[in-house]
Amino acid sequence: MTYRAPHEQEAGERAWEIIRAAYETREPVAWPRRHARPLVAGALVAAVIAAALSPPGRSVVRSFRKAVGVERPEPALFSIPTPGQLLVTSRQGAWLVRADGSKRLLGRYRDANFSPHALYIAAVRTNELVALDTKGNVRWTLARPNPRFPTWTGTRTDTRIAYISGGRLRVVAGDGTGDQAVAPAASVGPAWRPGRGRVLAYSSGGRAIVLDVDSGAVLLRTPRGPTPTKLAWSDDGRRLLVFSPTRLRVYDGRGRVVLADDPSDATADSDAIFAPATHRLVVTRVHGSQSDVLTGESGQLLFRGTGVFRQVSYSPNGRWLLVSWPTANQWVFVRATPRKIVGASRIAVQFGGFPRVSGWCCAP
């Protein structure tokens, strides 16, 4: 057949540049074998939820949690094994957790994010973006429809908050002035590039777009794919993670794919994060009834458990990982070297729902 599709040749040339770069930079990646279909993971989650919803099933869930958690966990979150403070959000609102285990409920906020030096917090509630201090005192508010994913960047004297509202990416100064819509955007947390300038990654139309907010110049537009659930930069701003459960890409500054993985046939990833001050990636992978925390490049297994790991977070000093494990109702702190594991139980009841970590920042 002699039929040629529109733009076949130009598309091929564009694709070849990316594919050639991937070929030239490839390293045999030892991702662990995937043994079961994502459906199995989904079925497990559904089964756990169904059990939890039925009062007679709660005792089953409790015994299941006991069976799947780490051995001899602390019965509550008495402390965090490393300096810094955690900002988390649950059904009850936003919480600040200090290293000594003390917790402060900041209010009924849906998403929250530290300011660059963790002196303030940007948070959202229904139709309002709010700036708070760390005691929960409101400094200013800005009414906008259904704001989500506030993300703060800048220096001590000049900061900006990016957020999503009404299907658009918006940016406002740290004092609540000069709010403006920047671009149409998907409901995915934008990510400021660390370092100089105000450069922001956001998602739109299944792509990640890197934008210089001051000049309006688009610096990078990735190929279209599934809408990412997370965008993140390495600490030096030279690598961009575009993450979805079935597709993971890491781009360099020129838009070349330096790491790719498509866990589509038998697994799904629940989270990924750069290790502080490196380009090393850590991934949480759900396969069948089991979840792993792995290093992205070498596939080195850091931690394994039954059920679903929802999230992984790095401590500010890069020595500890916090694995959020709702199936076991535990937070597990993992240190790779020297190896140490510290578990804390009954997390959901302490936060009014199993919380999501929004930030883990420097000690005040």
């Binding site: 039929y3 733009h7 076949e8 694709a15 498509d262």
Partner: protein, 169 residues
Amino acid sequence: MAGSGRDERAWVRRAQAGSASDFEALFRAHWGPAYRAAYLVVRDAAAAEDIAQEAFLAAVRALDRFDRRRPFGPWLHRIVVNRAIDWARARALRPEAEAVDVPAAEPPERDDELLRELDRLSPEHRAVIVLRYLLDYTPGEIAELLELPRGTVNSRLRRGLDNLKDRLR
């Protein structure tokens, strides 16, 4: 055109050993059919480009583990067509997603009546017709590629062709 089976095995072997020129030969031989297959299922040039590109990136990742005794084309086309069907289904479920800031689909350069009518078929019917009549797979091979019973493939082909025939009358 795709190379002969012997060429292809040699390209794969040398590409596995690190020969960029052989990997490029493999790419050049298969880009056209992969892109066309994706385009004919999704009817969106940008999506087809992404789907075919992603399939090749998957090929790069799996290259070292690829069994050279097996042909490369069917393996690649399986990824392409399955992703294209997924994409087309997703678009059918959420047509509003395209309205955000995605450019409109490019008008085909050869928008003849047959292609327009192909558009009216479901992604599943389109896929089997593309595999059969564009990529020249047998119904048995299509059944294996899409993991479908052979009878399902035959019935999709028959229904797809009947629909096209009715509309083109």
